[in-house]
């Protein structure tokens, strides 16, 4: 809100989504892959099984090329992206969890060093040293998940942190453990899903069957753990969030559809994996690819659901998605939003329309574009000035509901996914004037004619 606004035609949220989804699909494999490779190589050494050893060897190249290169850079990429799209929220997260991130960084060092060493020392060191490297990698990678889960889940369910502002209250929030269990399951099944491709490259038919079955077992365990974790996560959610997508009449139909989609995706994935478990010799790469897509669909669906359920907040019950703090609503209403949005206020050329444009940039532009993603022009295509005013009035009233002390149940609001309008009366009028200029002329004429 108080920063320069990056105009992205496809929307900042979409960019965060692209970078974040790309990262989590790889980073969860990096965690699960470490554990899977450690187990596979341990079995290979104990049983003197060359096929298992080859599986670990081939998979380690996926690990290094996909995880430590793509995973590491997209991980930093999420930071870069949220810093560009939501600098206020990023700053708040950093101030709250800097020591958590610092601890995670220590595990990164161990993770990256052991990953590179593991791949570089095939055929060079004794097996016990090689196993030490991969087990250390698996430990470090899993610990990085243990840390980051506290920060991710805090954004949806900050729990007692809202009163105490204490690190541990935010970190060990209500959905921390269920989410961790679910993500652990996801790590397992993604490891199995990726490594299944490496298993299929085995030339010996008998050995290939064994490897495919082993990877299918990994995935079955992962799916069951992830499903249990997911159900637990749903139970652990506060009632107002559950009401958004659960129950007989969910408040946000799109989120309810996402939930349904992800559970069906997981079911389809389980069926495909059971097929590999029962008939490993019949397994071919297209089936493995479809299974991987189903795995991605479940995971991507879950991330979409988690993000969607957080609306209209970026840190639930604390900060709205446009960077306005719940505790600042009254102040902004009194002093005006533009008094606290230096960069947006540059748009104010003294005219009412200019002021309205500035207010739009301060409060709306972090989610809405003019013509691209969540296009305000498209959303207002059938509105006239009176309707725009009415919408803003309702959104302003929603602000009063938030500022009233006890936080409202967002599902009872007219615009449950939108932050309230905050600002002075004049700013609201100016925003109305500006928004009306975005409505196509013919619509305004028709309305006027009526």
């Amino acid at each position: 809100m108080d920063y320069p606004i990056w105009d992205l035609a496809f929307g900042g949220g979409v960019l965060i989504g692209i970078v974040a989804i790309a990262h989590v699909l790889v980073s969860h494999f990096a965690v699960g892959g470490g554990i899977a490779m450690a187990l596979v190589e341990t079995l290979a050494v104990r049983r003197k099984d060359a096929a298992l050893r080859q599986l670990a060897y081939r998979s380690s190249w996926i690990l290094i090329l996909v995880s430590t290169v793509f995973g590491a850079i997209t991980g930093v990429g999420i930071w870069f992206t949220i810093g560009l799209i939501h600098p206020t929220a990023t700053s708040a997260l950093i101030r709250t969890f800097v020591w958590g991130w610092a601890i995670e960084w220590v595990f990164f060092i161990l993770e990256v060093a052991t990953a590179v060493a593991y791949v570089a020392t095939w055929n060079k060191v004794r097996p016990r040293t090689h196993l030490l490297l991969i087990w250390l990698y698996a430990f470090a990678a899993f610990m990085s998940l243990v840390v980051i889960q506290g920060i991710i889940s805090y954004m949806l369910t900050p729990g007692r942190w809202l009163e105490t502002k204490a690190f541990w209250d935010g970190f060990l929030n209500p959905t921390y453990v269920p989410g961790l269990v679910m993500r652990t399951g996801i790590c397992f099944f993604l490891a199995g899903a990726y490594m299944a491709f490496a298993a299929l490259r085995e030339q010996d038919v008998d050995a290939r069957g064994r490897l495919v079955r082993l990877m299918a077992s990994f995935q079955v365990v992962g799916i069951l753990v992830a499903y249990g974790g997911y159900r637990w996560w749903e139970v652990a959610l506060p009632e107002p969030i559950r009401a958004l997508f659960l129950g007989a009449s969910p408040k946000l139909a799109a989120l309810a559809a996402t939930r349904s989609f992800l559970l069906w995706a997981l079911t389809a994935y389980l069926v495909l994996v059971l097929f590999a478990l029962v008939a490993p010799r019949l397994q071919r790469w297209p089936v493995t690819a479809v299974a991987l897509i189903a795995a991605f669909a479940f995971f991507g669906g879950y991330e979409r659901l988690r993000e969607g359920a957080r609306k209209p907040y970026i840190i639930r019950d604390h900060m709205f998605s446009n960077g306005v703090l719940v505790s600042d609503i009254e102040r902004h209403n009194r002093e005006g939003i533009l008094a606290h949005a230096r960069w947006a206020a540059r748009e104010d050329d003294g005219s009412l329309e200019g002021k309205g444009r500035a207010v739009f940039r301060a409060q709306c532009a972090s989610c809405h574009t003019l013509d691209g993603y969540l296009s305000i022009r498209r959303l207002l295509a059938s509105a006239d000035a009176a309707m725009v005013d009415m919408i803003l009035e309702i959104m302003h009233e929603q602000g009063n509901a938030y500022a009233g002390g006890a936080l409202p149940d967002t599902t009872t609001l007219d615009y449950p996914a939108m932050p309230p309008f905050v600002g002075t009366k004049e700013e609201r009028r100016a925003l109305g004037v500006y928004l009306t200029t975005l409505v196509p002329a013919h619509v305004a004429e028709v309305r006027h004619g009526r």
């Binding site: 108080d2 920063y3 320069p4 606004i5 990056w6 090329l65 430590t68 290169v69 793509f70 590491a72 850079i73 997209t74 930093v76 990429g77 870069f80 810093g83 560009l84 600098p87 990023t90 700053s91 708040a92 950093i94 101030r95 709250t96 800097v98 020591w99 991130w101 610092a102 601890i103 960084w105 220590v106 595990f107 990164f108 060092i109 161990l110 990256v112 060093a113 052991t114 990953a115 590179v116 060493a117 570089a120 020392t121 055929n123 060079k124 060191v125 004794r126 097996p127 016990r128 040293t129 090689h130 196993l131 030490l132 490297l133 250390l136 502002k165 690190f167 703090l325 230096r342 960069w343």
Partner: protein
């Protein structure tokens, strides 16, 4: 100061820990990061320059590609810590600077990724006896651009008075008289360090006793490294003074008035540079003068260390007017800080132990390898 009206409000949340601790951790982790960055940047440029037409050059390129396999991921990982600490202390300056050149800032990641993958591609092609020069050049360009973007954002975050102009377009963001000398300062330091490193590795390998043909290769490699380090240091001395005197007048004066705490690291840095030049100029037969080559490498690292302190101090002077009224509230979560320090020590010790074992635990003849 004019332009300060665009500085976003201070984050109302307190800083969890004493500021001095953040500054210490920031400087220490940045030093490790920049040494690794030097290896990546200098290594990629020198590899592109060297090519593989001659045996000694091919050997140099092989070494640099091997080093970069480690240095690239580790430099990214060690970059996380200073990135974290700058956001704690100077978040509102840093985010604004990045937002003034958002595509470039985000594009930096793409360049890093391409540069990283090119390293594996070049290694793979070299092992197959295929040409690598174009890929090495492309990789060097990627890392040069990454450096340039970092320098641009760094300069912007220190100068809120330039934000208005920078918001007007890229030309405004680039219009800083210290941009070129600062960029060259990083590049030349990287070239000097990697040049000295190449020479030192050749000295070490030759000391193990090698055949005559191989010794000739190592000799060529060592000469090449020394020459690179020498010319880079020579240019660095000129560029260093260019950078110093290109600083805005109030920054230069403010820095010079900062007393011994600022003057000692700066003087030591310049002294280390001059000594480095003296040592390198004396090296005529690097394989026979291994001690001098080693001193040269140590001096580059030492000069980098003190210059990291100077860089941090100059930033403070740059930002002093903009932060004059800043009152950061701090808390002291000592339990959490202690937990971090314990995990840090244990993590680094475990990493070192694992790396030493990976480097030394070789199977006996006839014994099975992993």
């Amino acid at each position: 100061m004019a332009g300060n009206e665009l500085i976003p409000a201070l984050d109302p949340m307190p800083v969890p820990g004493p500021l001095w601790l953040y500054h210490v951790l920031w400087v220490v982790t940045f030093l490790i990061h920049i040494l690794l960055v030097n290896a990546v940047l200098g290594g990629s440029v020198i590899a592109a320059w060297a090519g593989t037409a001659r045996a000694d050059r091919r050997r140099t390129v092989e070494l640099l590609l091997r080093v970069n396999t480690w240095a690239i991921p580790l430099s990214i990982t060690f970059g996380i810590a200073p990135l974290l600490f700058v956001q704690v202390v100077l978040g509102r300056f840093f985010y604004t600077a990045a937002l003034l050149v958002p595509w470039w800032w985000l594009g930096l990641l793409g360049l890093l990724m391409v540069g990283y993958y090119l390293n594996y591609l070049a290694k793979w092609r070299l092992a197959r006896g295929e040409g690598v020069r174009p890929w090495l050049v492309l990789q060097a360009v990627c890392f040069l651009l990454v450096t340039l973007i970092q320098v641009v954002v760094n300069l912007l975050h220190m100068q809120p008075q330039r934000w208005e102009a920078a918001a007007g377009g890229l030309a405004g963001a680039l219009a800083d008289p210290t941009l070129i000398p600062r960029f060259l300062h990083f590049l030349l330091a990287a070239l000097a360090m990697v040049g000295a490193m190449v020479a030192w590795v050749a000295v070490r390998q030759a000391a193990r006793g090698v055949a005559a043909g191989e010794r000739q290769e190592l000799e060529g490699m060592a000469h090449f490294g020394v020459k690179f380090a020498l010319y880079a240091t020579l240019l660095q001395l000129i560029d260093g003074f260019w950078l110093l005197f290109a600083l805005p007048e109030e920054v230069l004066k403010g820095f010079m008035r900062s007393g011994p705490a600022a003057m000692i690291p700066l003087t030591l840095g310049i002294l280390a540079g001059v000594l480095l030049l003296v040592f390198l100029a004396q090296v005529h037969d690097p394989l026979a003068q291994g001690g001098k080559v080693r001193r040269a490498l140590e001096l580059v690292v030492a000069a980098t260390a003190v210059m990291v302190i100077t860089r941090h101090q100059v930033r403070e002077v740059y930002l002093a007017p903009a932060r004059a009224a800043e009152e950061l509230i701090t808390t002291a979560p000592w339990g959490l800080i202690a937990l971090f320090l314990v995990i840090f020590v244990a993590g680094v010790a475990t990493t070192v132990y694992a790396m030493v074992r990976a480097a030394t635990d070789r199977p006996a003849p006839g014994e099975q390898a992993a």
